[in-house]
Amino acid sequence: MKRKLNWIGAILAMMLLLAACSSNNGTNEAASPAGNGSNDSGEAEAPYELTVAYFTFGSVPQDQKLIEEELSKITKEKINATVKLLPISLSAWQNQVNLMLTSNEKLDLMVLMGSTYANQVAKGQLIALDELLAQSGTGILAALGPDYANATKINGQAYGVPTIRDLATSYGYLIRQDLVDKHALDLSQVKTLNDLEPILQTIKDNEPNMIPFVNGTGASPLTYYSTRDSLGDDMGVLLDNGQDLKVVNWFETEEYAAQLKQMRKWYQAGYISKDAVTVKESTSDILKGGKGAGNLATLKPGFDTQETRLTGKAITSVELLPSVAKTSTVTNIMWGIAKNSKNPEKAMQFLNLMYTDKDVVNLFDWGIEGKHYVKVSENIIDYPQGVDAASVGYSGMGWLFGNQFLSYIFKGDDENLWEKMKEFNNSAIKSKALGFTFDSTPVKTEFAAVSNVLTQYRIALECGALDPDKMLPEFIAKLKDAGIDKIIAEKQKQLDAWAAANGQ
């Protein structure tokens, strides 16, 4: 009897193990028949299933499946394809996407981020888009306009399409409206970073439990304040928003040293949190929790209402630097077609819908009409009765899904938001290097070493936690040691070649 039990136990254990292993195979098999679709056309062709990966903040909305079904209805009719959405949390995004690309999992469309774009192209993970765009992506090109469409080109080929949103950015200080009223702060006098000082002092004096100058996790207060074109990574930048094509070491400039001195002063004065170096929350969470008064941020039209919705506190902001367009502000969010795609043609057709089809865009951005929103007028929407921001079953990020200008405007937002956004994009100072993307592969050893030095010193210096008089020279020496000069030389070389090719 006992022997028999042993056997049964062993077999059960094996079965469990096998079951766990085989669940993977199931999905692979299910996916493969759809892949044959591209060979022949005609009525009988089975709809191709497009896998669309993008990142999300926080959890997946509960009505995600419904959105997928509705989308598939539209796409089945228009391009004979169905859509499978694959939201991945931002913290796992890089790893998971890398894994999917490496293991050749089924993946058609994916969001690209500016910081890894050049690398992904160099590693051959993306399909070149020019031909596909000319064939079935004309709507995208028309919506983007040539300046912004060309900003993603690497060696003359586009591998990604930027989403249409705020393609430029301005920098400023945002602060809780109630504090402005309570302490009668005069924001109209604030024109430069220096002018913030009396405001921060007032808050420091009157709100002992609040940080006047907040920074979020993985960033310093200065992260969202820039007068330079970082050329993607800050290892060799163009000063004055890229009005001059000379690559310099930002960390050696007097401007940077002056900024650090100021941050050190503010840190010692208590404007910046003493725990700034180790902070583990986002700025909006800190404001939401009533622990902070305000922070530097990248602004755009409609920013105040967006932040108000995010923090649950009325927010106002003051612009410190005018709007600029650089490659990084355009390419930070793009869509591309993975080399895994079995049917790039269909993927491009769907992408085209995301830039031209109002129904598709609004499904992505707001969900299903009547269920997740109701129309107040032609272009304005609101939550249905009995539903609010907390209980709505779906909400998407408008700046992520294709052409945001086709999106409805939420009640409370400026009715002319998209006109203002277009104006904002068009009037922005354009960096002369707009469209240049640095390929770091020739210097990847140095790039890795310099990245390490940056993570060691940068945030602590920019929070004011370290004395710049002592530590800045050490920081610069370490950067040189790691080979930043070689990166700068390589960057200058690539930039000159790019400029010559583009007639700058």
């Binding site: 193990l17 890398n98 890894t116 051959g124």
Partner: protein, 305 residues
């Protein structure tokens, strides 16, 4: 012939039980060794692993590009060496003390209390440490230092304190589990030895020195050897979470694992991560062989192989 079949039949369930473990070991530990070639290649996803170009030791260069390679290797070895030393001595001491407690209830009670930290996730530990060391609300800065009229210390940007902090946290967290392992082997020692020793008039201390320690020596050697084999693999949570990923502290908190993690979070280059992995494995392998060789020299039966 018949007996072989019989033997097979008798041991078949055991082999069957071994199978999942073996499969796991092969899939998880042996197959990935193939991936070592990635460290020597310039990976291009379109051409695949085998189709990518060989680039020799280029992927290893970034490790040795700056003084970082020296710092992280030094940190890794010194920290882990220190941990092995302190934890072993401490754990044996604790185990002996626990064994001396006669009341069953108290023995169990202390044992559980000591093991408890082992079960706490490093992320939570990091916040416990933060509650003590933080600047705005921390226990030391807000309550203890003012008592003595001392100035606040910015712990998370002063690297000189971290060797002590990390060692204390490591002992607090790791010692309980290790002491239970030793306690288990101490308990299994035949009580007759002690009775005989008591009759001969041996003191407690003499008993511990001449009976307990020599008998559990093989366990000590084995645990230490295993620990030395992993001396190049640091407790990632301890070195990454507890200092709150504060870059300024890296000179005293950066170890190979955290270095590689940080570099690759920025770059996402699997060639370079494999290179670091290979470096780590090879040095770890050499260390196991060397320490095992050393043990063989002293006492052959205590060596692992």
């Amino acid at each position: 012939m018949g007996s072989t079949a019989k033997r097979w039949k008798r041991f078949a369930p055991l082999f069957l039980l071994m199978l999942p473990g073996l499969v796991y070991l092969i899939i998880n530990n042996y197959l990935p060794m193939f991936g070592m070639i990635i460290a020597f290649k310039d990976i291009n996803y379109t051409s695949g692993i085998l189709g990518s170009d060989w680039i020799g030791f280029k992927n290893f260069e970034y490790l040795f590009k700056t003084s970082d390679a020296y710092i992280i290797t030094r940190n890794t070895l010194l920290y882990n060496g220190l941990f092995i030393f302190i934890n072993t001595i401490g754990a044996i001491g604790l185990a002996v003390l626990l064994n001396e407690i006669r009341k069953k209830f108290f023995q169990r009670f202390y044992q559980s209390i000591i093991v408890l930290p082992h079960l706490i996730s490093m992320v939570i530990v990091s916040y416990l440490v933060f509650a003590i060391l933080g600047s705005d609300t921390g226990l030391i800065n807000k309550s203890i230092l003012p008592l003595f009229g001392l100035d606040e210390v910015a712990w998370y940007s002063s690297k000189q304190y971290w060797p002590y902090i990390l060692t204390i946290v490591n002992i607090w967290k790791g010692i309980g589990f290790l002491s239970v392992v030793y306690l288990a082997s101490i308990i299994s020692i035949d009580t007759e030895y002690y009775e005989a020793a008591t009759l001969d008039g041996a003191t407690r201390w003499q008993q511990i020195r001449t009976i307990t320690i020599p008998i559990i020596m093989p366990v000590i050697t084995m645990m230490t050897l295993l620990a030395i084999g992993r001396i190049f693999y640091s407790d990632f949570g301890l070195f990454y979470q507890v200092p709150m990923d504060s870059g300024v502290l890296s000179e005293t908190t950066n170890v190979i694992d955290t270095y590689v993690y940080r570099a690759l979070m920025n770059l996402g280059d699997i060639g370079m991560s494999s290179a670091a992995g290979v470096y780590q494995s090879i040095v770890g392998f050499v260390l196991v062989i060397l320490s095992n060789y050393a043990v063989r020299k002293f006492s052959k039966e205590n060596a692992l192989f």
